[in-house]
Structure formats: structure tokens, C-alpha cells
């Protein structure tokens, strides 16, 4: 804790640096940029879940006035790749084409239509006549590996698919100790199966891209992405264009939640620009956002927990199946995170096992989504421990608390499981889970409510809790870089690759520079995510930005500070050790002589030891310090209808030292509400042919203001020694807990254990009727 001090600009609620422009409605999002003469692009999409294309007749479509170009698989490079934007080489299988001869889900792109107006493109797209040879689809992920199941990826040239002939995209297994043996010796063993449905990101800004040639003939792509540098690399590969001829610019982004961690739009506009030489633009319609980008991986886990009479958890096992849909974007890594970011929480076990398959189906491709597998894994893990508590007649909160990881401890899983690769050994340097629990249980009044006698009546109440952990970036994989340079007025430009998708990362990076150099935040000019103008960064995912990019920014600013001190020492004729940087000045501590930054920087430009002071730094985490979370839910169940009302949900997190407490808490609040929607009513449904029925906001219900419940989110006092100014991550963890906490609360209220999420009224009512409650 020695590094802790009073901060001037960090741990302050600075308003967002991009806030005023957004609030004023300035043209800041991709679709706001006008390009005269741009072609509008619309995709023809498959109407079958699984089919081979026999022929595509463009003739009628080409006659639509305004239509300029129609491209099919015969007109675009047939390079196999993965749409997933992750560290390279990617752990995801290469199983996708820009356009393929075969379609694998309802919505799979079949042809690219470019026209002078969006209406002309839409009309033409509807007139493209595609003849299919229908193939039998796999629509139930539990049947994907059965003998005789249709093979979804039978094409040539795929790479790193675990077993294409059995529709297994990826497989993973690990074991510490002998789980079966330890289980046998346990006094109590609980084994249950939990299923959790997919979820839609439902970010407000649809996926959108614009491509054009600049004056020098370089290809520029403005795009709504979380991964600009991965996007450039992928586009270079699939179109065989040198990296130096591509520039990817990420402007303001209207939300992502993982849904923009893949190249969903860019290849299709680029194909048009390459063919026609003209700017091309496309914004997805809402149903396309829902059913033709990425969704969350549906998963099922058989969870087993073994414990002794005194409530010591001795063994844990998660045996899973994950549904990656038609393509394997993030297939392996999301599945691994279901174990790697949940099981270390209960680190006192003698044996622990995690294994399973990720399978293909003819449903929309799953991909990255806030939590990245951890919420699916935690639903099973937390609930099975809750069920164990009932067997032991113990307080579930105390059982979880007693077995949970503590500061100074470790888990062998940190080393065994990374993302796609081995992980990294680490000791937990900051864990204030106990404080989170204490604060949360007081607010929800846990002790008086957990064992309360049920009142007779039509409505019953109950409480539930769930504990969670996540990570802060992928250790030894994720790299972020930043550069800083000074200006005559004492201001500093910060250029960084990190990708602010609405989370506020540009703002907290400005705060980190401001704190390091002791200059006001408004004197830090942030420019991020432009592959020509900013250094590399993997992008916004894996809860990496605050920790990985934040450390890069801090290191760059530290280096710059040292250069400033050096020059100030020369100017003030003293030793560099005597120089202190304070309140926009360099100061000689010995005699109080000082020079303002603006003076010094101006002199350095024009009259004194002329030099542009600048510095850069890169950062790769040696570890991935987990944030921690305790969530408490109180529900009221209507026994006549099965309706669940969440009366209160309390989430208390340890995210280290929040750089911007309001923004950090906002991440927790948003994630909590997104998790609450998923727990209760966000439910994806398909028709008998695999077409998503819930592809808009009428049919797929995200929480509205009337669903807003009494939600309280807090951050406890914590400090992560390896983080920038003590910070860890916060953006994902909040979505891990609402589903299990609400499941546990429903059980506490009714005695009914729902093991299939979401917990719709219909499902619960059927159980109420069956159990005659």
C-alpha cells in the first residue's frame, strides 16, 4: 500500500473527454461521415440454415436502376480465415470465407450488392435469385457430434478445427489432481446440469463501415470496431493487400460488448471499393445485427462439487458443451474462460477438472460477448455450490466465502489455463472480496432474510448471492502501446491504440497522463485507434484496456516526465535529481526556482537545446489481476403466474483503484442490468429451420426503464500494486453474477431450482405447478 497517495486527477470523476461532442450531436460515429459518390452496400443473405449454392442469377437485380455491382463467391478472394479479432496467430479455427459456395446459417452472406442508393441496393438484393441444394441442418447443439450428423465444415483448406467430421470446432481439457478419486472420498457430492441460452449484444449502434481510396491510393476503412489493428491485419491477409496500403480508423463507437470484436462488415465494403474504385458504405439493419454478426455461446455444463462435512470444498468439475454456431469465432478461448475465470475462485480444492467440446451448428455464429464464457461457467459453478450449501444445511454465502480465494493466495489454474494457450502463474496481490461481501450483505439484509420463515400467500420472497472474478487482459499475449509529445502551451498529445467503444477509456487514459505529469486533464489531447496515427494495441477486449493500455500510457508519461526533468535541470542549471514536476511547472527543490511547462516547451522548440520532447511505451501484462465481485439479489415470485420481480440487486466490486469512479461504476451498473435481462427475459428463439425469430427489440426484450429495479452498485477500497495507479478491470465482471444470484434467490423463495436460464415466468410456473407449491 506504500504506493498509495492522494491523487490529483486519478480517482476523480472527470467528465468524459469525448462527452461534449457526443452530447452536442456532432457527427462522430461512422455512419455520420458523408462521402459524396459513395456506393451503398447491401448483402444478400441465405434463407436456409445449411445449403450448397447451385447458381446465382444476377440478371434481374442488375436491371434495377442505380445498381452498380453485384459480387458473389466467384468474384471475391477465396482465402480462408477467422473473423475473430484476437492475438495473432489466432486460437480460433480458420473456417470462414468472405463469401462461400456453401451457406451454414440463415443470414450467411451470399452476395454483395452495391448501388447508388440504399433503396436500389435493397430492391436489387431481393431480386438476386439463388438456387440452393438444401442440406440437412444441425439445429440442436447436443446432437452436433452424433453419428451421422451432417458435417458443417467439409470444405477444403480449413485450419485448426479440432474434428470437422464430428462438428467439433474446439476441444479442451485439463485436470489438477485426480478429481474422481477425491470426489469418492468426499462426504457430500452434488452433481447437476445447467444450461444457459445465448444472448444478443443489442448495442445501440449497428455494425457499420465505410471504405475508400485516399488521394495516395491507399485503402482507408472507417469502421465501428473494437479491434482496429486486428482488422487491418485480417483485411491485408484476405485481400492480399500490404499492411502499408491499409488504414483503419475507429471513430466514436455506439457500444460493442464484444459484438464488434470481429470483422463483420469491413470485407464487404472493401470488396466493392476494390472492384469499383469508389467509396462504399454499409450499416446493418437491426435484424442483421441480431442474427448475422455474433451472439453469445450457448453452453451446458455438468457441474460437480465434492465437500467434507465441515463445508470444505475438496473437488470441482465442469464438464461442458458450447455452441459456436456456424463458425468458430472465439470458440476455444470463450470456452476456456468459462473455466479459467471461474474455477480459481475456489482455490482450496485438492482436485479440479474442466473439459468439453465446442461444437458447430447451423445457427448464427457465436463470438465474443462481455464476460467471454465466464458468466456461462459461473452459472453452473455458483449454483452447484449453492445447492451443496442446501445439502449441508449451511448458509450459501458463508460456504462460498469460506472456500474463496484470498489475497496472497494462488491457484494452479492461473498457470494451466490461458486463452488458447497456457496461462501465467500469479499470486493474487489484491482481493477485497470479503469487503465486497460485507458491504453487500448489509445492504440486502442477508442475515435476516436468508433464513426467514415463508409467509403464506400468493407471493413469496427470497435472497440469493453469487461471487465472481474475471481478469485484466490476457497476460503475455495482449500488448498495448502509447506515445506522448509536448506542445508550446504545456499541453500533451496522447496517441494510443486502445479502443474506446463508449467505455470511457480515452478519458481515463487522459487522467493517467494528467496524474503522471501533474497537468489538468483538459491539457491532454487524446487521439486513439487509427492504424496510421497511433501505436499498436490489441483493442478493447478481455477487460484489458485499463490495465494493459493504462500501464503503457503511464509508462510513456513517466518517460516523458524524465525527459522534461532532464531539460529543466539544464535550463535551471541544476542536477536532475533536484527537479520536481508540479502543477505544470518544473521546480528546483533546492532553491525554489521554476519554469512553467509552456515556457520550457516553447523554448525547447525555438531557442534552447531545440528538441521535440516525446516518449512512447508498450506494455504486456506479466499477470492478469482479477477483479472480484459479490452480488446479492432479492426476488419476489408470484406463485400464480411464475413472474419473478427482482426487488433489489446489489453488486459490490473490487476493481482496484478506480481511475474514474463514476465511469467504473457505470460499467458495473450496465453489466448488472445486462445480466439481469439475460437472467429473466432476454431469450433467443429460432423457428424450425434455424431462423432467429427474436431479431429485433420487439421480439428480443432488453431491459427498458420500466424494468429498472432497485439496483445498487459499489466499488470497495482496493489497490492493485501492478496496475496503473492501482487499477484493475471492471467492464466485464458485472455480467457474471446476476444469472446465478437470481437463480439462487428464486430457490430461496420457492424451493425450486431452475437450472435452465433465462428464468421465464412460463418455466417457473410449470415448476410451481409440478411441485404443487
Amino acid at each position: 500500500m506504500s504506493e498509495r497517495k492522494k491523487f490529483n486527477y486519478v480517482n476523480k470523476n472527470e467528465i468524459k473527454v469525448d462527452g461534449p461532442s457526443i452530447l452536442k450531436g456532432k457527427p462522430v460515429y461512422t455512419d455520420d461521415f458523408d462521402f459524396p459518390g459513395a456506393l451503398h452496400v447491401v448483402l444478400v443473405r441465405s434463407t436456409y440454415p445449411h445449403a450448397r449454392i447451385k447458381s446465382i442469377d444476377k440478371e434481374k437485380a442488375l436491371k434495377v436502376p442505380g445498381v452498380v455491382e453485384i459480387l458473389t463467391y466467384e468474384d471475391v478472394p477465396q482465402k480462408i480465415f477467422t473473423k475473430a479479432g484476437q492475438g495473432y496467430p489466432e486460437p480460433s479455427p480458420y473456417d470462414s470465407f468472405i463469401l462461400s459456395k456453401k451457406v451454414r446459417y440463415v443470414g450467411d452472406p451470399v452476395a454483395i450488392v452495391a448501388a447508388e442508393t440504399v433503396n436500389a441496393a435493397r430492391i436489387a438484393a431481393s431480386k438476386v435469385n439463388v438456387e440452393y441444394e438444401k442440406l440437412e441442418p444441425v439445429l440442436d447443439f447436443k446432437k452436433a457430434t452424433k453419428d451421422g450428423a451432417p458435417v458443417i465444415h467439409d470444405e477444403e483448406g480449413t485450419k485448426d478445427i479440432y474434428d470437422p467430421s464430428r462438428n467439433i470446432a474446439s476441444h479442451y481439457e485439463m485436470e489438477v489432481g485426480n478429481t474422481d478419486e477425491v470426489m469418492e472420498k468426499c462426504d457430500y457430492v452434488v452433481e447437476k446440469t445447467y444450461h444457459i441460452n445465448t444472448q444478443l449484444h443489442a448495442m445501440m449502434e449497428p455494425h457499420v463501415s465505410i471504405s475508400y481510396y485516399d488521394a495516395n491510393g491507399r485503402l482507408v476503412v472507417i469502421t465501428s470496431t473494437q479491434v482496429p489493428f486486428h482488422t487491418r491485419r485480417i483485411l491485408s491477409m484476405i485481400f492480399d493487400i500490404p499492411i502499408r496500403k491499409i488504414r483503419v480508423i475507429k471513430p466514436r463507437i455506439g457500444g460493442g460488448f464484444g459484438g464488434k470484436q470481429a470483422v463483420h462488415v469491413e470485407p464487404y465494403v472493401i470488396a466493392v471499393t476494390l472492384k469499383t474504385g469508389r467509396p462504399a458504405r454499409m450499416i446493418f439493419e437491426r435484424p442483421e445485427v441480431s442474427m448475422a454478426t455474433n451472439i453469445r455461446h450457448e453452453m451446458e455444463f455438468k457441474a460437480t462439487v465434492g465437500a467434507s462435512k465441515d463445508g470444505t470444498i475438496k473437488a470441482l468439475s465442469l464438464d461442458g458443451l458450447s455452441n459456436t454456431g456456424a463458425y468458430g469465432e472465439h470458440a476455444l478461448t470463450v470456452f476456456m474462460v468459462a473455466g479459467s475465470k471461474t474455477l480459481p475462485l475456489y482455490n482450496k480444492v485438492e482436485a479440479v477438472r474442466f473439459r468439453g467440446d465446442v461444437v458447430y451448428t447451423n445457427l448464427p455464429p457465436a463470438g465474443a460477448y462481455r464476460g467471454y464464457g465466464a458468466p456461462q461457467g459461473l452459472f453452473a459453478l455458483d449454483c452447484v455450490i449453492d445447492e451443496l450449501a442446501h445439502e449441508l444445511e449451511a448458509d450459501p454465502l458463508e460456504l462460498k466465502r469460506k472456500n474463496a480465494i484470498k489475497e496472497g493466495e494462488t491457484s494452479p489454474i492461473f498457470k494451466i489455463m490461458g486463452e488458447g494457450t497456457e496461462g501465467v502463474e500469479q499470486i493474487v496481490r489484491s482481493c477485497k472480496l470479503d469487503e465486497c461481501i460485507e458491504k453487500g450483505k448489509k445492504i440486502i439484509k442477508w442475515d435476516e432474510k436468508i433464513n426467514h420463515k415463508k409467509e403464506p400467500g400468493k407471493k413469496v420472497r427470497g435472497v440469493g448471492c453469487a461471487l465472481a472474478m474475471q481478469g485484466s487482459g490476457i497476460a503475455k499475449v495482449d500488448m498495448g502501446a502509447a506515445s506522448v509529445k509536448v506542445n508550446e502551451d504545456g499541453s500533451v498529445n496522447l496517441h494510443l491504440g486502445a479502443t474506446d467503444l463508449g467505455t470511457g477509456s480515452d478519458t481515463i487514459m487522459a487522467q493517467i497522463v494528467a496524474e503522471t505529469l501533474d497537468i489538468p486533464v483538459e491539457k491532454v489531447i487524446v487521439y486513439s485507434s487509427d492504424t496510421d496515427m497511433t501505436p499498436f494495441d490489441v483493442g478493447a477486449y478481455a477487460s484489458s484496456t485499463t490495465y494493459v493500455s493504462g500501464n503503457a500510457v503511464k509508462n510513456a508519461a513517466e518517460k516523458l516526465k524524465n525527459r522534461i526533468k532532464e531539460k529543466a535541470a539544464h535550463y535551471l542549471n541544476t542536477d536532475v535529481d533536484n527537479i520536481e514536476v508540479k502543477n505544470q511547472h518544473a521546480l528546483n527543490k533546492e532553491n525554489g526556482e521554476k519554469i512553467s511547462f509552456s515556457d520550457l516547451f516553447t523554448k525547447l522548440f525555438y531557442t534552447f537545446e531545440q528538441e521535440q520532447l516525446m516518449a512512447s511505451a508498450s506494455y504486456v501484462g506479466n499477470e492478469s489481476p482479477p477483479p472480484y465481485l459479490a452480488t446479492f439479489a432479492e426476488v419476489e415470485v408470484d406463485l400464480e403466474t411464475g413472474k419473478v420481480d427482482v426487488l433489489k440487486i446489489v453488486s459490490v466490486a473490487d476493481c482496484g483503484m478506480p481511475i474514474n469512479p463514476i465511469q467504473a461504476r457505470g460499467q458495473l451498473e450496465g453489466a448488472t442490468m445486462q445480466g439481469l435481462g439475460w437472467a429473466l427475459y432476454e431469450d433467443v428463439k429460432y423457428d424450425g429451420r434455424g431462423r432467429m425469430l427474436t431479431n429485433d427489440f420487439f421480439t428480443y426484450k432488453i431491459p427498458s426503464r420500466m424494468d429498472y429495479v432497485n439496483m445498487e452498485c459499489y466499488l470497495v477500497d482496493s489497490y492493485e500494486p501492478s496496475g496503473p495507479f492501482g487499477a484493475k478491470s471492471i467492464a466485464e465482471i458485472g455480467i457474471d453474477t446476476p444469472v446465478p444470484a437470481i437463480a439462487n434467490a428464486i430457490y430461496n423463495a420457492t424451493g425450486i431450482r431452475l437450472r435452465e436460464a433465462p428464468f421465464s415466468s412460463e418455466k417457473l410456473l410449470m415448476e410451481i405447478l409440478k411441485n404443487e407449491i
Binding site: L23, M203, G254, E285
Partner: protein
């Protein structure tokens, strides 16, 4: 066909397709604050004020507002100063990605004109049509209360 439209007190005469939606016409005229999200009257992101009342521009035929007066967020901040509602949203963290904010700001403006001192329930009901996926609504409810205070001339 041609229509006359007053946007933020500025008169426009604009050629439109009879089937064109107000959302498309406004964006074409350069009012990019009007955001397209669901394009089917379910999210509120494209909300503008028609004679002071919030409407969804994605399902309003441009032809139907001939000779009408429209207000968008561009008209809210005079001389680049933020409107008190905008200040309140920023100060409470009510804007994360910001994509829903234009529609929300205008709905708040119209609502607070009618109800300058609302409680939580009234706020939720009045703004139910404006979806936000980022904030979980907590900070936006705080924002409306703070904005109301500011507009009533009270200190925080």
C-alpha cells in the same frame, strides 16, 4: 415532392421521395445527431421534437411534417455552450457510448418542460421509450433529476 421544414428555427425547402422517412431526410440535411438504431420504432434513438413533442423520426413520413417545426440536439447548445440537460448527463455519467443520448436528451427536454420536478417513477414512465444498453439506467435517472434541478435554477 418538395416540403418545407423548419429545423432548429432554420427554414429548409427540401426535395423528398414521397415514402421517405424524416430520419433519412434530417440526416441528409446534415442533422447527424438523429441516430439510426432499430429503424422500426422500438428504441427511441431517433427521437426528435415535433412542435416541442417527442416523435420517432424513423417511422414518421417526411411528407407528413410539411410546414412543421422540428428540433434536434444540434439546436440545443447555443454558442457551443452545453444545455443544462447535457451538463447533467455528463456529470452523472449518464452517457457511455452516447448513441442513445440525442433521443434521450430531447425526450428529457420535453418531459421537464411539462414536469419540472419529477420523481423516479415519473421519470421511468416518461422515458420508457428510450432504450440504453450501456448504463443500466441508474445514472440516467440521476441525470434527469440533476437536469431538473439545474433548470429550476437550484444549486446541486
Amino acid at each position: 415532392m418538395k416540403i418545407k421544414l423548419t429545423v432548429n428555427k432554420k427554414a429548409h425547402e427540401v426535395q423528398i421521395d414521397p415514402g421517405e422517412m424524416l430520419l433519412d431526410v434530417l440526416r441528409r440535411l446534415g442533422y447527424k445527431s438523429v441516430r439510426r438504431s432499430c429503424d422500426s420504432a422500438s428504441c427511441g434513438n431517433c427521437t426528435v421534437l415535433l412542435e416541442g413533442k417527442p416523435i420517432l423520426s424513423c417511422i414518421t413520413f417526411a411528407a407528413s411534417v410539411d410546414n412543421c417545426s422540428i428540433e434536434t440536439v444540434e439546436g440545443l447548445s447555443e454558442k457551443e455552450e452545453l444545455h443544462p440537460i447535457q451538463e447533467a448527463i455528463l456529470e452523472t455519467g449518464g452517457s457511455q457510448c452516447g448513441y442513445c443520448i440525442s433521443g434521450l436528451t430531447l425526450t428529457i427536454k420535453s418531459f421537464l418542460a411539462e414536469n419540472p420536478d419529477p420523481d423516479d417513477e415519473e421519470i421511468k414512465k416518461a422515458l420508457v421509450g428510450n432504450l440504453c444498453r450501456c448504463t443500466g439506467y441508474e445514472s440516467q435517472i440521476k441525470a434527469v433529476k440533476l437536469a431538473a434541478k439545474k433548470l429550476r435554477g437550484e444549486k446541486r
